[in-house]
Symmetry: C2
Subunit: 371 residues, 2 copies
């Protein structure tokens, strides 16, 4: 089933007169339908001429040439989960069911019912990035897609963790789905467009403006079956996504960290106030995601990673070894929360497997352990 | 007001025939009173001869010579909070209002209404020990006493933090209050007996047996207005104390840590299941302790510690510097969750203040920063 052409074209036209998540416009569309809303706004002396200048058929065709489709309510691919936005209170004048989502990539949006949104700080620590990648890999291996925003830090790590195990992963962008933001993530976003999906409520060509990030966050929360915040400072944008997930009655989860780390302060606040449940592993996340869309995707397992063969202790030590510049085994033991002797013996075993190596400063990850 | 001599002597005698927290005996005393319970048990063919052999007046006199008093229900010093144990379900056959508490030291038990119990791992990390000391100092400076168990690790750090700011602090022991356990804490326990209080339900001379730790934990939870767990592995005894605090309707709080640290796993479990509220600072703890016995003690502020003069950033970096063997500034940055350059500059500033120093392995705390 697909939406009527007239409805789809009306929605394309309407995307040109208001920002994503414009509460007034989306409320009007929800009340009257897109065609009636378009007719009403076309009579407006200010908006009318702007709407007249839009050629939605040409826009759809141009988008299709760039590999973009416009998924709207009524399409088979439309995820019913997005309709939950209809009744959720707006935040900062942003909210509502999007007019449609522009999608680039083979993954269908209706396959995201049991997916996990992984969000967090752009200025993530090694601790946070490693955890985000591990969480995403564990949840991905259980057959669930990973939704994030392709930003630096936690977002990047989450996509990377999913890709490492061959799990589907989706980036929801604040700019148009045909653009790349941040530019440094060109390769990641190309990969997602080829193997997963790049999604945006913003019309093609749209720039990543600040207000669009707020609207984008509600799409991440609504598309996924639950949201986990890995690291977030106080006032981080990730807290906005968590807020949306909570208001949409999706599980909101947070990974704690040292209370001395500012990158965890926002997560601790969420947990403390009861807005998020504390999770420490992908297994915890899977338990909380529960039956919602359980194992909806039957994805092939990625090739086994070397770390899959490690004992629990070995993984824990490996997780505490720095990526770039080495650290003495006592520091590794401190980070791992283990006894120094135990850690030293384990480091030697990991070295024998080629997973860690020694530099002038101490122990660091060997290339093999990265993937 | 004091309890009658006959009641007090009956309670002393009864402590000689059952372990602390013996549900059957304490239930009988609660139902009939101590004198009637003693009369009933004296007729028992097994217990009678054992009770006949006790000379409670002599025991009280001997205890008094060692500086011990026996505080029982009806005494002015008896804290009504202990009576909450009457209705709490036993755990592992231990529970009930104690027959009395043996106390050594000038601090009165009825001054503990707004106090905080700080409990946690014996094998604490530097992170946990520093936090426990900081929490205890902040809460102590707000005029509240710190209750703990004088054990290695978190207990020691909690007492130390309270002592550093001149706040009252109390150790509840599993052995007799005239004994020292662990032996390495002779100096701490002597100090507590001189300035605060050393408390036990176990009769004088009693050894620190395993079952007595479980009974002891309920006394820590009941004496204090709330319990915070700083670090605890899964199955740690500190979780037993937290469990008692929850069943006594006292606030239960937990300080999170890295999910890669086994020393925080038990705390994370408490928070995740809703048994504890996440706290990150002494300010959080004070908020949750709330009005219960607020500022019951008017204690003099201790002399200012050097760290009081530091900026927030400096304190955060200082908290990430190891105590004994040094670590490179990159490791310190990792633990602190801060950028390496920022941390390096801050370490130099702290070195200029004499708070950190460099050894062969990197940065470590200087003696001045310890207290």
């Amino acid at each position: 089933m697909t939406a009527s052409d007239a409805d789809r074209l009306a929605r394309v036209a309407l995307t040109r007169i208001a920002e994503p998540g414009h509460v007034g416009l989306l409320g009007l569309v929800a009340a009257t339908g897109a065609e009636a809303a378009l007719a009403e706004l076309s009579a407006d002396p200010v908006l009318g001429p702007r709407l007249d200048a839009v050629d939605p058929e040409r826009e759809l065709a141009a988008a299709a040439r760039r590999g973009l489709r416009f998924v709207v309510p009524g399409d088979d691919e439309w995820p019913p989960a997005l309709d939950d936005l209809q009744t959720a209170e707006p935040v900062q004048e942003r909210g509502g069911v999007p007019l449609g989502l522009w999608v680039r990539g083979p993954l269908r949006l209706d396959q995201l019912a049991g997916s996990l949104a992984v969000v967090g700080a752009r200025t993530a620590t090694t601790y946070g990035s490693d955890l985000a990648a591990d969480l995403a890999a564990t949840v991905g291996q259980a057959g669930r897609a990973i939704v994030s925003g392709a930003a630096f830090g936690i977002d990047f790590a989450a996509h990377r963790g999913a890709i490492a195990v061959g799990a589907p992963t989706v980036a929801v962008l604040a700019c148009g789905a045909d653009r790349v933001y941040p530019q440094a993530h060109q390769q990641l976003i190309d990969h997602l467009a080829a193997e997963g999906a790049v999604v945006s409520e913003t019309a093609p060509g749209g720039a990543p403006m600040r207000v669009r990030f707020l609207s984008r966050n509600r799409i991440i929360a609504a598309l996924s079956g639950g949201t986990v915040v890995v690291e977030a400072a106080l006032r981080s944008g990730a807290l906005n996504t968590a807020n949306w997930a909570g208001r949409l009655n999706r599980p909101v989860m947070g990974v704690p960290g040292p209370v001395t780390s500012a990158s965890s302060a926002g997560v601790h606040q969420l947990i403390r106030t009861g807005a998020a449940t504390l999770v420490t592993s992908g297994e915890d996340v899977l338990e909380l995601l529960g039956a919602a869309g359980e194992h909806v995707l039957d994805i092939p397992r990625g090739k086994d990673r070397p770390r899959d063969a490690l004992s629990h202790l070995q993984r824990r030590v490996l997780d505490a070894v720095p990526v770039s510049r080495g650290a003495p085994s006592t520091s590794v033991a401190h980070v791992a929360g283990l006894a120094a002797e135990e850690v030293h013996a384990t480091l030697l075993a990991l070295e024998a497997r080629g997973m860690v190596e020694v530099d002038d400063d101490g122990w660091r990850l060997a290339a093999l352990a990265h993937d």
